[in-house]
Amino acid sequence: MKSKRPSLPVSYRLAVTSRVLAAAGGGYLVAALASVCISLLSPMTRAEAVVSGMMLSFVFYLLAVIWCFACRTAWQAWGGLLGVSLVLGAIDGVAYWMAH
């Protein structure tokens, strides 16, 4: 991959940049939303659930980053993260609304 670098088109570089942004920013969003999901839904005391959510969040970050670089196109990377974020966000919203 790298060996062809001097001749790589701009579109390829933009796609890589896009994936990096998706992985860093979108990955963080997925991880944070997943941690909230765990903390609000797991049947433990409040503090225990929050600690569990935070500890596991990094696994979701990892999976999100792998997704961003494993899928076929950069658009797909964004789309997947957006979809997961919407689902997690909806669950979080409902759980938050029920808890308050």
């Binding site: 609000l40 503090a47 929050v50 935070m54 990094f58 990892l62 980053v65 792998i66 670089f69």
Partner: protein, 525 residues
């Protein structure tokens, strides 16, 4: 990406490793040195004499000192000396308005006399420990950057495992003296051999700062009242509120024994006293962190400071906190005795080597195409940063130790000058790497580091009375061990410099023959 899953992961592994490798190398090397934090401090402040441990006397001395110097503080912290840390440390937090953070002051006392210790000013091993997660940056940016680096390391490890499919088969095929391929075999071997350690140390560093970098769930569950979260997780940090009426604090020493009765076979690590001058004062007695692997920040036995009444014993940690505490405890290795401490040190060096070999492979593979030895700008940049971040850092560590012995004892801000020497040496290492051709820069810096490390015992003998013969005769194994470890490191670095020098000649003659077989493996890495 357009190729298969494994190729994509190999690509990610390669580029994450390159962009964060230099920072990760520094974090892992200084973090590894921090496993001998107390031992390093002992060598750097040799005037601190080792006393027989007497917790009762230490606490009485500390209380007298604090009563005299910090009677109106909002909190006192007393850390008892132990087998590794001979000094009695007292710290206090000045009283502050609500919502503000009072300033902390720390002093080291002689555990026998309770007087301030007169020792050379030095940052000691604490410097490496602080640097490895704060990176000499203002709070909290260093911690955030270090945690980001840990996340990259975590992703790098997982993608490395995915890339490397024949992980155990390849492990038994080390092909020495094959240039680039030996580096790859070494990278794989050192990665697989202590893989559980790499994963543990990396994931635990994420957990240690998780409430700093991933606070969404705290906010979702506690709203603005995040203090409540910390009080629930660390019950003993819940401090009594001062009433404003002056009180008389009871002697602290008897509470050590009272607290110990609540633990089976436990030692006291430290005490905190909240509002020591107030009628509503409280005493928290904490267990020694070295007692067990799982670390429990919040576990304490609490007493009222004026009546002596037992206020409470922190219950056992719930499971999630115990898991987090175990990760923390495993990362810090407080529980480790001398043998396990050495295992930690060697494993830490293995992680550092994993990162270093990765950086060397990245460049080596791309440099092969430039047989004439002239690298294009971007490869030359990587080469310079490789040299400065690895051999330059090792030189800087040695310079840090030399500064401790050579800077005048009366120098103002002496401890800061030690740290400045470290960074000046590191900067000069970068400059040297820019000015000299690649391999010569490696050889010269490794050679200099070898000389500086190997001469540490000599330097110590010339500048202090604590030389090797003396420390061996007195059975001061920490002092002798430090000298000998430096000597050993010097010999190892000399060997590395010699290898680098020799392989330079070999590469020049066989570069063309080698280039062909390597390219077969290239697509995967």
């Amino acid at each position: 990406m357009k190729d298969g899953f494994r190729q994509s992961m190999a690509w990610l592994h390669t580029w994450l490793g390159l962009t964060f490798g230099w920072l990760l190398f520094a974090i892992f090397l200084t973090g590894t040195l921090a496993y001998f934090k107390d031992e390093t401090s002992h060598w750097m402040q040799p005037e601190m004499s080792v006393r027989p441990l007497d917790p009762q006397a230490s606490v009485t001395g500390a209380q007298a000192y604090l009563q005299k110097n910090a009677a109106d503080a909002s909190r006192w912290f007393i850390s008892l000396p132990d087998a590794r840390e001979p000094a009695l440390s007292v710290m206090w937090q000045a009283a502050a308005k609500p919502g503000e953070r009072g300033k902390f002051v720390e002093k080291l006392l002689d555990p026998q006399t309770g007087e301030e210790v007169q020792t050379r000013a030095s940052s000691g091993g604490e410097f490496f420990y602080r640097f490895h997660f704060q990176l000499q940056m203002p709070h909290p940016w260093g911690r955030i950057l270090a945690t980001l680096a840990a996340l990259v390391m975590f992703i790098g490890l997982i993608t490395g495992i995915i890339t490397h499919k024949k992980i155990f088969k390849d492990f038994f095929t080390f092909r020495p003296r094959k240039g680039q391929r030996s580096w790859l075999d070494g990278h794989n071997a050192v990665g697989v051999l202590v893989l559980p350690f790499h994963l543990m140390i990396t994931y635990s560093s994420l957990i240690i700062f998780m409430s700093l970098v991933m606070p969404a769930s705290i906010i979702a569950s506690y709203g603005k009242d995040t203090q409540t979260f910390f009080k629930e997780v660390f019950p003993a940090s819940d401090t009594a509120t001062p009433t404003g009426q002056p009180g008389h604090l009871l002697p602290l020493a008897p509470f050590l024994e009272q607290a110990r009765q609540h633990w089976t076979d436990g030692r006291v690590g430290r005490l905190t006293v909240n509002n020591p001058a107030d009628v509503n004062s409280s005493i928290n007695v904490f267990r020694d962190g070295a007692d067990k692997i799982a670390h429990d920040f919040g576990s304490a036995v609490s007493f009222n400071g004026t009546t002596g009444q037992l206020l409470g014993v922190t219950p056992e940690q719930p499971l999630p906190m115990a898991i987090g505490g175990s990760f923390y405890g495993l990362h810090m290795g407080h529980f480790a005795g001398p043998m396990w401490r050495w295992v930690y040190f060697i494993f830490g060096l293995a992680s550092t080597a994993l990162i270093g070999t990765g950086l060397v492979i990245w460049l080596g593979k791309r440099a092969l195409k430039h047989v004439n030895g002239v690298l294009p700008f971007e490869l030359r940049l990587v080469q310079v940063l490789n040299i400065a971040s690895m051999s330059g850092l090792v030189v800087a560590v040695a310079v840090f130790f030399w500064a401790n012995r050579l800077l005048p004892l009366g120098l103002a801000e002496r401890a800061d000058w030690e740290v400045k020497s470290f960074f000046i040496a590191w900067g000069l290492g970068l400059l040297h790497a820019v000015l000299r051709p690649g391999r010569k820069a490696w050889v010269e810096q490794l050679g200099l580091a070898a000389l500086l490390f190997a001469a540490v015992p000599l330097l110590n003998a010339l500048t202090t009375p604590y030389h090797l013969a003396n420390s061996l005769a007195q059975g001061d194994w920490v002092m002798a061990g430090f000298d000998l470890t430096c000597l050993g490191s010097g010999l190892f670095l000399a060997w590395a410099a010699w290898k680098m020098q020799r392989s330079g000649h070999a590469v020049a003659s066989t570069q063309k023959q080698r280039a062909a077989p390597i390219s077969l493996k290239q697509e995967l890495n």
